[in-house]
């Protein structure tokens, strides 16, 4: 077993996922199965290999800092589950 129930609960909190007990059990089993299958990667010596996060030789793409029209407020809010006075509304924070 690579990961324990405690790991599952910790990762679920990091990922902001509320899981039922049944789901936690399933995650525990399947994640361990999947991580076992990844073990094969350790057969490869990568001590002298650079990581590749991205295939293109493009770095730090900047644009001019110019004022441009943005989406109108109604359009930005049209998909919001809840909004009031032109703002997104969420439960009380403090």
């Amino acid at each position: 077993m690579k990961i324990t129930m405690k790991d599952v609960e910790h990762v679920a909190l990091l990922a902001r996922l509320e899981l039922t007990d049944e789901e936690k059990q399933e995650q525990l089993e399947k994640l361990n199965q999947i991580l076992d299958a990844m073990e094969v990667l350790n057969q490869v010596d990568t001590s002298h290999v650079e990581p590749l996060a991205h295939v293109l030789p493009i770095n730090n793409v900047f644009r001019e800092d110019e004022l441009k029209e943005s989406l109108p407020r109604e359009k930005v809010l049209q998909n919001a589950p809840d909004h009031e006075e032109g703002m997104f509304k969420v439960p009380k924070i403090v």
């Binding site: 999947i34 990844m38 990581p51 996060a53 989406l71 998909n79 919001a80 589950p81 009380k92």
Partner: protein, 484 residues
Amino acid sequence: MEFCQLTIHESKKLLENKEISSLELTQSSLKRIEEVEEKIKAFVTVTKEEALAMAEKVDEKIKKGEDLGPLAGIPAAIKDNICTEGIKTTCSSKMLANFVPPYNATVIDKLLGQNSVIIGKANMDEFAMGSSTENSAFFATKNPWDLNCVPGGSSGGSAAAVAAGEVVFALGSDTGGSIRQPAAFCGVVGLKPTYGLVSRYGLIAYASSLDQIGPLTKDVTDCALVLNALAGYDPLDSTSVNMDYPDYTKYLVDDIKGLRIGLPKEYLGEGIDPQVEEKIKEAVKKLEELGAVVEECSLPHTEYAMPAYYIIAPAEASSNLARYDGVRYGYRTEWAEDVLSLFCRTRAEGFGREVKRRIMLGTYALSSGYYDAYYLKALKIRTLIKQDFDRAFEKYDCLLTPTAPGVAFELGSKADPLAMYKQDVCTIPVNLAGIPAISIPYGKVADKPVGVQFIGKAFGEGTLLRVAYTLEQNSAETRIKPEI
């Protein structure tokens, strides 16, 4: 000719000769959908009224003698993770079931700029995570060749809609094989372009370093026509490449004399259906007859691609999908006491099983203490995989492999996640290396289509179109149609 068999270039000719109007084409598409959609279930949304209005507009422009481009008036389906302004874009997820984008993806602006007619939004695996379209939160799409089988995934709706003749072409997206594998399963042509060739602006992100949008079409000529429309630099996508883009139809040449094709041995043998392998060998023979030089070669790190992908893609997904918090758009739980429970419950209720699994896997691989062992390790493997391809392309113009390890499988037959992940063994390495690949049909096994995949060097789409076109022109095996 029946509408359901028309290609883009054939439709274009009928339009030019005034033998058909765009409105009639669109009506035929909608009629076909009415006839077969109950069985196929390729669409999440059919935009009938908008499509008819668009077609009428195109007809007016044609009447005025405007030059409208090769896709004008042609009915298309769009995978439901590509944003369409004013048209629901759901990612086949409960999370986005009511999401109506306030803007178009760049590829949609490009299609509309060419006066293409959008018929509807195609079903997919939720957030493009899956290889069968069974992970859609709404319903499973069926394979037009065998309604008991899956169409492949994640662009299963797009592939099935084209194969069933509900539309003339479709757009899909490919992160680990999601255009090519369903193209193979449904007997159509699917191309994953080089990373950076097509703008990802407005494509709802799954794994940003791997995702690419591409065409699903009925033949290779259509593939080039749609690629012409999609490819190009876009300042709105910082990974879009600023270069001169060729006219891809110029590569539709029936000649591969002297073309050097590598046959990587790691893509045959264990894990590949022997009958599929037999078809690949038939394709090799045909290519040799046509003058190509085919040689066995080796991509030694191939077996590590799948495990590396299932670390990298979920890691990127866990970050990309953090935006679904029930605040700005998408689903929100009714049971939130505070902001933390708002986030956790919204995501618990809004995401399906496979999406949760990949978010968990990715979060774990990126979490403190495991980052080096999993994520960094996978990125190093990615380097080795890319180097394998670089070396092969010193010697070969393109590579030939099966697109998938088998043909379309029965619905519900791959319940285990690892069994499903293995569907992508032949397609994943291409995404990790950022290079292009095309799948075209090559005959049938057990009455279901087989796909052959040609893999090219970065920005080598032209060579892929040339070899695929030549094979298509010279073999009836590439022109197969289902009966529904």
